[in-house]
């Protein structure tokens, strides 16, 4: 994503001279990936410590002596030396380490060799695939990727995922335990052997994006960073032979087409806007262009995946000239396809909403009556909000009122309550 931090995002902080935005955070991810390949996954803790120490050293040295010409090479050298020192001291003379050291001795003269873009992408993606080990619970996979690849601290992850630091710490520990136990021969697996994990990688990137996108939260800028990171990693994947498949392209199309509308969802005072209230001229043309481009690249091969269906739906919304002129029929069809690929009452509910726009509220309600919603859906504000809206428009005001009350009670944020109040009390 092209958008930098918004004005007022971090007031009073000067830009770091000569460094691009997120330089430290992204260098952290790059160096952890690179050194993990050299030292092995089971040394991930030491690798992270070595990289952290190198960044701290940079803070002091660069302030005192000025920034080096190639900050990336500088950090690599220091982190690498930290790691070798640490491994020599604590890990004994394991053969695998000796090999890592020897291989490294050859290249310390020209650290720039570690900076070929292809090699960096290789290392980053290998790390991403390692994060997506089946033995690691998905929730742990996500925080582990945020920590190692995106360079967020435990506290920063907790803030972005609305959870406690202790919880993030626990999830990280679970991932690390698993990797520490991994047998030595899979410590630095070749990238091609990890290809079977591609569906997991897609799922994690999708989850990462949604964590940023779905949040109805006032702290828009920090959540946006999650969307940016998801796009960054997905782009890396799409441009690499290991991930250049239609499914990845479709996933990127979903991300860009959603991101296009991200800025227009808020009213400028932290409130949320309904789709029909949004000013479509504020939608990000560049994101729409990128989304359309990935969507057309995704239209090949045999498989029509859930990401293809979701990209199709997002594209229908993005390229509709107005809310009224939206092609609801196509959207209904796409939701039906999505249900066939990935059966979920949530998708049926979304289809009912589109159907109500196309054929009227009674058609939507009829579809919902056939759904036996699971507890998680009944207890979420979404189910009541949709039923409340459709009943109101169908003229069943008493039932609508009951759903409205329930929706308002379970809405998780003030911004959402505000939006629901507006939506559910408008005269039919």
């Amino acid at each position: 994503l092209t958008g930098g931090p918004e004005p007022g995002d971090r007031p009073g902080v000067a830009a770091a001279p000569g460094l691009v935005e997120h330089f430290f955070r992204h260098e952290y991810g790059r160096l952890v990936a690179l050194l993990t390949r050299k030292a092995g996954v089971h040394h991930i803790d030491r690798v992270e410590d070595a990289v952290q120490a190198a960044l701290l050293a940079a803070l002091t040295a660069w302030t005192a002596q000025g920034r080096p010409d190639d900050p990336g090479a500088w950090l690599y050298r220091v982190a690498h030396n930290n790691l070798i020192g640490e491994l020599r001291q604590t890990a004994g003379r394991l053969l695998i380490l000796e090999r890592a050291v020897d291989a490294e001795a050859e290249r310390t003269d020209s650290p720039a060799t570690a900076h070929f873009a292809g090699e960096v992408a290789d290392d980053m993606l290998r790390m991403l695939f390692i994060c997506c080990d089946d033995a690691i619970p998905r929730e742990s996979q996500l925080v582990f990727a945020l920590k190692t690849l995106c360079g967020f601290s435990t506290a920063e992850i907790a803030l972005r995922l609305f959870t406690s630091e202790a919880n993030v710490y626990k999830r990280l520990a679970r991932a690390r335990d698993r990797l520490r136990d991994s047998s030595p021969d899979i410590q630095t697996p070749p990238l091609d052997s990890l290809k079977s994990r591609l569906p997991n990688v897609h799922a994690i990137l999708y989850l990462l994006f949604n964590e940023g996108y779905l949040a109805a939260h006032a702290e828009h800028a920090i959540r946006r960073e999650l969307c940016d990171e998801a796009v960054r990693l997905a782009t890396l994947l799409a441009e690499h032979s290991v991930g250049a498949v239609p499914e990845t392209f479709a996933l990127l199309a979903v991300m860009h087409l959603h991101a296009a509308r991200l800025g227009a969802r808020c009213d400028g005072m932290g409130g949320l806007l309904l789709l029909e209230e949004q000013d479509r001229s504020l939608w990000d043309r560049e994101q729409m262009r990128l989304g359309a481009e990935w969507l057309s690249r995704s239209a090949c091969g045999e498989l029509f995946t859930r990401y293809h269906a979701e990209a199709g739906i997002a594209a229908e919304h993005c390229f509709a000239p107005s809310f009224e002129q939206t092609r609801w029929r196509e959207i209904c069809d796409l939701y039906a396809m999505l249900e066939r690929i990935d059966s979920s009452p949530l998708h049926t509910m979304n289809r009912a909403v589109a159907l109500a726009e196309w054929q009227g509220p009674d058609a939507g309600l009829a579809l919902l009556q056939a759904v036996a919603p699971p507890a998680w859906l009944v207890n979420s504000y979404l189910w009541d909000a949709v039923l409340g809206d459709l009943h109101r428009r169908a003229g069943n005001l008493e039932i609508a009122g009951r759903h409205r009350e329930r929706a308002l009670t379970s809405a998780p944020t003030a911004a959402l309550r505000e939006l629901l109040t507006r939506r559910l009390t408008t005269a039919a």
């Binding site: 971090r10 902080v13 000067a14 830009a15 770091a16 001279p17 460094l19 997120h22 330089f23 430290f24 955070r25 260098e27 952290y28 952290q52 960044l55 701290l56 940079a58 803070l59 002091t60 660069w62 302030t63 005192a64 360079g151 967020f152 601290s153 506290a155 920063e156």
Partner: protein, 114 residues
């Protein structure tokens, strides 16, 4: 122009490690501060490693660091036309704002004849 020694002190407990994003911010803030007071900063000094020895006529011992409430964590040399100006340099130093840390300012006595 008078010279001053800045001694940065902090609580002996290990401070929480800053995140990469915070480090980039600190780098930016330090640079802005250094730029603002570049005429005053003679030697940016640096952080001091923990541990050390105290040498007396009766030998060398581990320092009294373990019991100390605060330990000296870093030093710096500053020149300023007045003590007030030195105070200003210290007050805006990003190192001071960290919780539990302080800067002691001592004017360096000029040796007569120099």
């Amino acid at each position: 122009m008078p010279k001053y020694l800045f001694l940065q002190r902090s609580l002996p407990r290990k401070p929480q490690q800053p995140s990469p994003a915070q480090m980039q911010e600190m780098y930016a803030v330090f640079n802005a501060w250094k730029e603002k007071f570049k005429d005053n900063i003679l030697d940016l000094g640096g952080p001091l490693k923990p541990g050390g020895k105290v040498v007396t006529t009766s030998g060398a011992t581990d320092g009294p660091f373990v019991e100390a409430k605060e330990i000296v964590g870093g030093y710096m040399l500053v020149s300023a036309e007045s003590f007030d100006r030195a105070l200003e340099v210290a007050r805006e130093c990003p190192g001071v704002i960290m919780p539990g840390s302080s800067v002691e300012i001592r004017e360096i006595q000029e040796v007569s004849g120099s």
